[in-house]
């Protein structure tokens, strides 16, 4: 597997500015990021640009990464935990070409990790930046369709309605049935959507030494969780937040501590459970 | 009966009705009415039909708005003026001091007879069970058969409704009672029950003002009569 650091030696594409976006745009995005860091969990609007890929493929995350990335950075891109899916590979190649950065699949080596739907199993460290691709930044959207009203609810910390949705889940299913995009309270102030990561990853967000940045391209919002910020998953006293557990271990590396994907491996329906985080899994074999 | 201070004192009371649909025609009904009732007294209002007895009684209760004059009620060792009073003052007097028995029961949908009777007592903070027992006692005394107690009185006969009404008004020991034909449409047996209740309350120190068409009833309960004079003739005879 090509799991070592590769430096793209081809020269910068002369038709594009460094890291694709023009400098003004990058400055604008950096200002939004600074504001987002200053107000943890608050959704900062920004002037999102058209990117050379469709909405839903990570346009928000790419703009955040483009605004931050420099020649000294090492980029890792994952999609559902894997470094080798189409989306992850193309974004990695995009930045290797437009920003001449080194790319890696090793969590420990990366300075910027752009991710869709997972947080790496390997604990993050000081100085790392985790960039999330966010489809729907507003955690209250499904409960309150009016943007003016959701903004007011955030401004006034009126979060009864969020708790209503959890109540409803218990009333219907006997437990909080939400398994991904599980809402969190950031720094005791703003309720935030952690993007569609499994709730298994929520505890990793809490007081993480890495900087977490969230970019929503379609809705043009950036929000952030600065290093070491408390992030609490919402729950009830008598229905506390719990993460998924598996009775199986990873069929490839034997891990009992990572998030497992279920795979059907033959026509008879034989199932295997394997780590969703490919880098983590390979490093253990 | 002049030894004790009056419980109710009326002076110079005037009341007219202005009917705007009739071009603002004013109908004077009461003019310069003055009276006083002391605890233990029962004042019977007498006078020809249309003289304004009912209007006077309703004005005393604050149901009709007096044009001028004074209606003062003894409450908490002080006089409370009802003419021109704030609604909450009138409500407070009705709540604690002055009860009214009208000729007709205002039926409340779905509420049982016993609850209608118990309500004024409950509203004053009496234990609900105790209020209920007292209501049942009064209903029994007024001859309402127990099988009717739990039913809303909408379907009761006129006499039954009136007795429910009386029970509701007498369940609280109001210091002042206003009675508008309490025995109309009652048969002799039930009438006697009502008379006995009124006499008991009078002898216990209530100040009562009432309209009693039935002279036997009037003789049994009244300690004095007050003649209500029709406004036209009162204008004629005034000195």
């Amino acid at each position: 597997m090509p799991d070592t650091t590769i430096r793209d030696t081809s020269s910068q594409d002369a038709a594009y500015n460094y890291a694709y976006l023009d400098e003004q745009t990058k400055r604008m995005i950096r200002r939004a990021i600074l504001k987002a860091v200053a107000v943890p969990g608050y959704q900062v609007p920004f002037g999102g640009r058209e990117m050379p890929l469709p909405y839903g493929w990570g346009t928000g995350g790419i703009q955040v990464t483009a605004a931050l990335i420099g020649r000294d950075d090492t980029l890792k891109v994952i999609d559902q935990g894997a470094d080798d899916t189409t989306n992850a590979v193309s974004i990695r190649r995009f930045f290797a070409r437009v920003a001449q950065v080194a790319t890696t699949t090793h969590t420990g080596e990366a300075t910027i990790i752009q991710t869709r739907h997972r947080v790496p199993e390997t604990p993050l460290t000081d100085g790392q930046i985790l960039v999330f691709q966010v489809p729907i930044p507003e955690p209250l959207r499904m409960l309150e369709p009016r943007e003016t009203e959701t903004r007011t609810l955030h401004a006034l910390s009126e979060y009864g309605v969020m708790q209503v949705s959890l109540y409803e889940s218990i009333a219907r299913h006997g437990r909080i049935a939400k398994t991904y995009n599980y809402p969190v309270m950031v720094n005791g102030r703003y309720i935030m959507s952690p993007s569609p990561i499994p709730k298994f990853d929520n505890p990793k967000l809490d007081r993480s030494p890495a900087l977490q940045l969230y970019g929503a391209g379609r809705e043009k919002r950036i929000y952030a969780v600065p290093p070491h910020t408390p992030v609490k998953s919402l729950d009830f006293d008598d229905h506390p937040f719990e993460i998924e557990t598996w009775t199986e271990c990873c069929a490839l590396c034997g891990s009992t501590e990572s998030f497992l994907d279920e795979m059907i491996v033959d026509d008879t329906g034989k199932r295997l459970f394997v780590c969703s985080d490919t880098d983590y899994c390979e490093s253990r074999r | 009966m002049t030894c004790s201070q009056p419980a109710l004192r009326v002076s110079g009371l005037a009341k007219s009705f202005t009917v705007h649909a009739q071009g603002g025609m004013a109908l004077p009904v009461l003019r310069d009415v003055s009276l006083a009732v002391s605890p233990g007294e029962c004042l019977a209002l007498v006078g020809p039909s249309g003289a304004g007895k009912s209007t006077l009684l309703r004005s005393l209760y604050g149901n009709y708005r007096a044009d001028s004059g004074s209606i003062r009620v003894r409450q908490d060792d002080a006089w409370t003026e009802l003419v021109g009073a704030e609604p909450r003052t009138v409500l407070d007097v009705r709540h604690r001091t002055m009860g009214f028995v009208s000729q007709f029961l205002r039926v409340i949908p779905r509420v049982s007879a016993v609850d209608i009777v118990a309500e004024p007592l409950r509203r004053r903070g009496t234990d609900p069970l105790e209020a209920l027992q007292r209501a049942e006692f009064l209903l029994a005394m007024l001859g309402i058969p127990p099988r009717l107690w739990a039913l809303p009185p909408a379907t009761f006969s006129g006499g039954e409704q009136q007795r429910v009404n009386i029970a509701r008004s007498l369940i609280v020991d109001y210091p002042i009672l206003l009675l508008d034909e309490p025995t109309a449409s009652l048969d002799a047996a039930n009438r006697d029950g009502v008379v006995e209740l009124i006499c008991r309350r009078r002898d216990a120190g209530a100040a009562i003002v009432g309209i009693f068409h039935d002279t036997d009833v009037r003789d049994a309960v009244a300690t004095r009569v007050h003649e209500v004079v029709p406004p036209a003739s009162s204008a004629g005879v005034s000195p």
Binding site: T152, A155, L156, E158, Y159, G160, V161, Q163, V164, S165, Y167, E168, I170, A171, R172, D235, F236, D237, D238, H239 | F17, T18, V19, H20, A21, R58, G62, N63, Y64, R65, P87, R88, V90, L91, R106, I108, P109, R110, V111, R123
Partner: protein, 257 residues
Amino acid sequence: MSAPLLSARDVGKRFGGRIACRDVSFDLWPGEVLGIVGESGSGKTTLLNCLAGRLVPDSGSVTYETRSAGSVDVHRLSEARRRLLARTEWGFVNQDAREGLRMGVSAGANIGERLMAVGARHYGEIRGQAADWMARVEIDIERLDDRPTSYSGGMRQRLQIARNLVSRPRLVFMDEPTGGLDVSVQARILDLLRGLVEGLHLSVVLVTHDLGVARLLTHRLMVMQGGSVVEQGLTDQVLDDPQHPYTQMLVSSILPV
């Protein structure tokens, strides 16, 4: 009885050139039920919305005596405090229950929302209180997990009442709470409201065009015509001895049963 709970002084509101209400003043005391009557377009609902802080009046003021923070000018409060007041010390019962309920979540969640909004985080207790209130508004507890979309009009209205009263408000605004319901359904709600208002010692401002509803529920009445209060007083006084030509016309328009 030391201070009025709600005081309106010269409240006025216009929409463009049209005056919706003008110079309305009154005091509402604890435990009082004030009815605002008048025909459609007389400004009742506009006034109610001004009183409840949902509309900002052009002139005048509305003062409310809070439970613990003294008296406040409703329209000078920050939005945060006004909304907090609205969901803790106040209630608002809409004519159309769909406006006052979350139709997409269960009855229990509807009732529990106010509790959760002020920090209740014990599912079992929230559910228990919701069930208790279902019983108090005479809805079968079996329906606790059903959505109000499956409820009848009368049940929805009773659910809306429970949703408002669960936080033990002191003041409830009601806009035609029995409007658009069958007469038999109306009677049940009126009876229920009567008991709750008395039992919880609620103060209520009730808008209705139905004088029968006003007689049954209210202590005092304000009669509105063309945006102005033309008459006010004790409910039985206003209905039995109406003074103003408009009130006399209104009272004489009731069909005898």
